[in-house]
């Protein structure tokens, strides 16, 4: 009876426990009783069984064995009686085996028998055995005698047969004699023969042979009768009467025959008769004992005696066997009575056991019924209690279910929100995470964080600084800044600003932003991957630069080529510069040229190098120069094909010039004059240089967000190549004008000027010289302040020299466009090297005009020379 698991919950279960305990005690008591009863019964049965096994069974077996022995011996007796020959009797063997078995059985019986019984049984059995032995011996004797008798009889019979044959032979011979006598009588008819036939010996002999034959036949029958006698009386009678008579008659007949034979006349027959007589004697000798050999009759006698012995032995044996059997029966009855007593006792035990067990079972059943009733009652109480408990449990689980549903709903909401947050985070593509004051990451983080910093996130003790910065110094500065974020000493934004914002890792560039976290004591870190933007920007810039370069090249091949050569020359100058001043000049010119033609990478590098020189006052190192050269070569490499393809293969002729030629030819002008005109065509039109300057000006203006209207007045002037070094340097003037001269549109409007500034290039050719003018309507040059900045060393110097003074710039701020007097100085030095002069006229707020006066080489002469 299993208790439900509520046994600690009420008085019902306690009742039940007590009930069960009492019931099991009762049951155990019953079982103990049953066990005791069983042991008692088994003990009693075991005793009976051992009595059976030790006494009854062996005794019964021994009695059976004795019976077997007796029956064996009886069977031997019967077999001996039934045997028809000595061999069969001998084949029975001796009775030792049966006797041994009987002895063994007797030993076994010894314990079970009363002493008198044992002795008498033993004696009886021995007597029985003896009589059985006697019987066997008698049987053997009887058969032996019988056999001897049969042999003797057979011998006698064959002797008789022999006798008869002999007599038959005699008969035949006598008959033949008789027939021969008849034949003699028949043939001779003599009376003598007749007398011999009637009275003679032959007839007598014939009769006596016949008589002997008859007697011998009778003897044979009598001898056969000996075997048929049934008892000694018959035998005695036969022997004394018929047999003796027959023997005597046979003897008499033979003697009678013998007497009839005349030895003379019947010699052959006499011999035969004597033979027959001897055989008869021999035959008769077989009948009765002569000496030690028993005769036929004696054997028959012995046979009868042996038979009688056998029968008496058989009778004795039977009697003794019956007696032994009777004793055995007694013993058997004793044993049976013991067995029956034991059986009765066993039955009594069984009966008692049956009643006892029945009582116990009834008691047990009653107890079970009682127990069942008690348990049922306890169960009923328990069930009621359980029902109550189940109701309580249901209520509780209902409440729980409600609560669970709420929690579940809430969890669902939260996880949905979390999922959307995560989705948001992940879809941003930025690395977003929160970290606490120790720099340890807390809460959610976007997928990008794992993608970018996954390897460091997993490391033990990984902090924000280790995560963000790959190298130790970087990490230290982040860590310092991070600590400031939390010590509350500085405002958050200020502290955040001081932490490094850009990191480069694994070829990626990350931009990092620090914001106040959602919780106190956490900081939200937003990391963006700028790599792609930077690369794209760079690529675009390069592409733009390349386009600009190609555009410049196509627009103004000559100018481009000049600038290129100039730049190459300047780089060489830089490499060979002997002092810082030369270096500065060359560097600045290079910067201006490269910037104006769109080699922005080179220009940028030049600017950077200028910064370095300005800051540290040290000339660029050889490796820096090498880097500059590499940059340059890289820049122009892409343009080589454009340059090479059309280099020196053409000259530019204006349509007006062609018209002019035509006009000259139609007016039939002097051939010299025509020649001079055409010769000038080999020179480059100034317009191409000027328009190049114009473009550069526009570009510089747009870069500075200034509006400018550039005008070019070239006057169809062609210039020869002697001025080639000049043109690139004019960029300085352009840039000075755009950068320093022209104001921003707002300033111009404020000063009452048009928004768009003006810049004019013009070239004029006289007989001896060529005049190049660059003029703007900008702010002009504040000569006084220039001189003030320059200090005492400007005293006495003309304006031109003041501007061109090294390092001077009218602008406070250094820009990549200009700002230094270096540019002006460079122009000045080129012009002077060409043997020209420079003049500057300026008015503050009105503008500046720079005029370059250059001596003109005779174009005709030079051209002619060139033509030759």
């Amino acid at each position: 009876m299993a208790q439900p698991d509520t046994d600690h919950q009420g008085p019902g279960s306690a009742n039940m426990e007590g009930e069960l305990r009492r019931l099991s005690l009762g049951g155990a008591g019953l079982f103990a009783l049953l066990a005791v009863a069983l042991i008692v019964v088994l003990e009693s049965l075991g005793t009976q069984l051992s009595v059976f096994e030790e006494k009854v069974v062996p005794t019964e077996r021994a009695v059976g064995g004795m019976f077997d022995s007796i029956s064996d011996l009886s069977a031997r007796e019967s077999a001996a009686l039934a045997a028809t020959a000595v061999d069969e009797v001998d084949a029975l063997g001796d009775d030792a085996e049966a006797a041994q078995a009987a002895d063994a059985a007797l030993w076994t019986l010894e314990g079970a028998l009363r002493p008198g019984q044992l002795v008498s049984l033993r004696q009886e059995f021995d007597a029985f055995r003896e009589s059985a032995d006697n019987l066997t011996v008698a049987a053997r004797d009887s058969h032996k005698v019988g056999d001897a008798f049969a042999a003797q009889l057979s011998a006698a019979q064959s002797q008789v047969e022999k006798l008869l044959r002999g007599v038959s032979a005699l008969e035949g011979e006598v008959q033949l004699r008789y027939i021969l006598l008849l034949r003699e009588l028949d043939s001779s008819q003599s009376t003598d023969a007749l007398e011999r036939l009637i009275k003679g010996d032959v007839r007598m002999i014939d009769e006596r042979v016949g008589k002997a034959r008859t007697m011998i036949e009778i003897l044979g029958r009598r001898i056969e009768q000996v075997a048929l006698t049934r008892n000694r009386d018959e035998l005695n009678s036969l022997n004394s009467n018929e047999l003796a008579q027959a023997a005597a008659s046979a003897k008499a007949a033979i003697n009678h025959l013998s007497a009839a034979l005349d030895e003379q006349e019947y010699a052959d027959l006499t011999a035969e008769v004597a033979d027959v007589s001897a055989q008869l004697s021999a035959t008769l000798a077989l009948l009765h004992a002569t000496g030690p050999t028993p005769g036929l009759v004696d054997l028959r006698h012995a046979y009868f005696i042996a038979g009688a012995t056998m029968r008496s032995a058989q009778a004795a044996g039977r009697e003794r066997s019956l007696s032994a059997s009777a004793t055995l029966e007694e013993v058997g009855a004793d044993v049976r009575s013991v067995a029956e007593a034991s059986q009765a006792q066993t039955d009594a035990v069984v009966r008692t056991t049956r009643i006892g067990v029945t009582l116990l079972v009834l008691l047990g059943l009653g107890f079970c019924a009682f127990s069942a009733r008690r348990i049922l009652m306890a169960l009923k109480a328990l069930r009621a209690q359980n029902a109550h408990l189940a109701k309580l449990k249901d209520d509780l689980s209902e409440a729980n279910a409600h609560l669970e549903a709420r929690v579940e709903e809430r969890t669902r909401e939260l996880s949905a929100r979390e999922a959307s947050t995560r989705l948001l985070l992940n879809s941003m593509g930025d690395g977003v995470f929160e970290a606490n004051a120790q720099g340890i990451l807390v809460g959610e983080r976007s997928k990008a964080v794992d993608a970018w910093f996954g390897d460091r996130l997993d490391q033990d003790g990984s902090r924000v600084w280790n995560i963000l910065s790959g190298d130790t110094p970087g990490a230290v500065s982040v860590q310092l800044g991070w600590e400031q974020l939390f010590d509350g000493f500085l405002p958050f934004e200020v502290a955040a600003d001081q932490i490094p914002h850009r990191f480069e890792r694994d070829g990626r560039i990350f931009d990092v932003e620090y914001r106040e976290g959602a919780q106190e004591s956490t900081v939200l870190v937003v990391v963006r991957d700028w790599t792609a933007d930077v690369a794209a920007e760079r690529a675009e810039r390069e592409s733009r630069e390349f386009q600009a370069l190609v555009g410049n090249l196509l627009r103004d091949r000559k100018g481009f080529e000049i600038t290129r050569d100039e730049c190459a020359h300047l780089i060489e100058q830089l490499e060979q510069a002997e002092n810082l001043s030369e270096t500065k000049k060359a560097l600045h010119t290079l910067k201006g040229n490269t910037a104006s033609y769109g080699f922005s990478a080179v220009a940028k590098r030049c600017h950077s190098m200028e910064n370095t020189i300005a800051a540290e006052g040290v000339a660029p190192t050889a490796s820096e120069l090498a880097a500059l050269r590499r940059e340059w070569e890289l820049s122009i490499r892409g343009l080589k094909e454009f340059i090479q393809s059309e280099e020196g293969s053409s000259i530019q002729v204006e349509s007006e010039e062609v018209e002019q030629l035509c006009r000259l030819l139609s007016e039939n002008k002097d051939r010299e004059e025509v020649l001079r005109l055409v010769a000038t065509w080999a020179h480059t039109p100034a317009r191409s240089y000027l328009t190049r300057l114009e473009r550069q000006a526009r570009r510089a203006a747009s870069r500075l967000a200034k509006e400018v209207d550039v005008r070019v007045n070239h006057n169809r002037v062609r210039v020869d190549s002697s001025l080639d070094p000049l043109w690139p340097s004019l960029i300085h003037l352009v840039r000075n004008s755009i950068d320093h001269g022209l104001e921003s549109p707002e300033v111009r409007e404020a000063e009452g000027k048009p928004r768009t500034g003006k810049l004019a290039f013009s070239v004029e050719k006289s007989d001896r010289s060529i005049l190049i003018e660059v003029a703007d309507d900008g702010a002009g040059i504040d000569e006084a302040s220039l001189r003030a900045r320059l200090g005492p060393k400007s005293e006495g110097l003309p304006l031109l020299q003041v501007i061109a003074h090294d390092g001077l710039s009218s602008k406070d701020e250094v820009t990549d466009h200009s700002g230094r007097g270096v540019g002006f100085g460079a122009v000045l030095s080129v012009v002077e090297s060409l043997g020209g002069t420079v003049s500057v006229s300026t008015a503050v707020g009105k503008g500046t005009c720079v005029q370059l006066q250059l001596p003109l080489v005779d174009p005709t002469a030079s051209d002619a020379t060139a033509a030759a």
């Binding site: 038959s168 035949g172 011979e173 033949l176 034949r183 043939s187």
Partner: protein, 395 residues
Amino acid sequence: MPQLLPFAGLLLLSQASLAPATPQESDSLRIGMSTALTGPAAALGQGVKSGAEAYFAEVNAAGGIRGRFLELIVLDDGYEPARTGPNMRALVGDHDVFAVIGNVGTPTAAVAVPIAQELEVPLFGAFTGAGLLRKTPPDRWIVNYRASYAQETAAMVKGLVHDLGLKPSQVAFFTQDDAYGMAGYTGGIKALKAMGYEAAEFLPHGRYPRNTVQVESGLAAIMDPRNDVKAVIMVGAYKPCAQFIRLARKHGLDALFLNVSFVGSAALAKDLGPVGEGVVVTQVVPHFESDFAGVQDYRQLIPEDHRGFVSLEGYLLARAFVAGLHGVRGDLTRDALIDTLEAGLPIDLGLGAPSQLSSADHQLSDSVWPTVIQSDGSYGAIEDWSDLRAYLEVH
């Protein structure tokens, strides 16, 4: 030269044993014979045995029967029926013989015949003319070569009455007092009755006990002066018969003495000596000096001093048996042999027309050849019974 012939046969045998198709000794075809090698009938047994062996040796020298040697196993029964039974069973059981041939004697046949029938073994060419081997219909397993005693005595009666011109009443019988004697006697009586002489049973008839020479009583019956006996048909063994003839002649019986073949011609002639001249013996084989092809073949095998009617019969019955074996188609079994013979297989023994058997006739030869002891003691063939008149008139 003729003496060497058996050895020539042996030589052939040894050569054959070198030939590729050598019959295997272990696989020989065994043939049995229970006969008298000792005792009063020893001469007969020896004769039959030698004739059969000579012929088997020739067959073996020619390759045997279906590649198997013929092996003749001979057991001696001494003319005693009591020994014949065990011999027959030993031959069939222990020696596993295919058939038994050439057994000598009627009383022994009385035992052998039921055994042959029981064991289903062919008993072929027994040296006896007794009727118990010649039942109607014949026993399946009994096959005879020779004519019966009845046929012999019938031939005698015919010859005496028809050819020699005697009256049936002048014929007497002297027989052994057993089945043998009775067989011959009955044949003669039947023949006489067939001639219309109804009183044949009352003709003088002398008997003598078997294995004795007590012939006087029989002689007395025949010599009764009331009879006019001119011919005595004798069915007996040679000793009593010789004794009878001697006594009869001594006491002046002037008659022809006619013996059946079984008497043992040579022994009889020898026993009688000079008294024997004119004694007739009928034979169931031709004279061994005759010109029959089969007899010439016989003479090729048997040396001159071993020749005789008995060994010739042994030769011929062996030859007939082998012819039967050769005639079998398919598996060589006992049944197949009997079936083949009963189907009328022609068996040519070189004695004129081939013989044929059927299920109603199990006897190959019905021929009877009369012979007479000549003055030199040898046997001469009688071409015509009337030739015997000379002997009648002499006495």
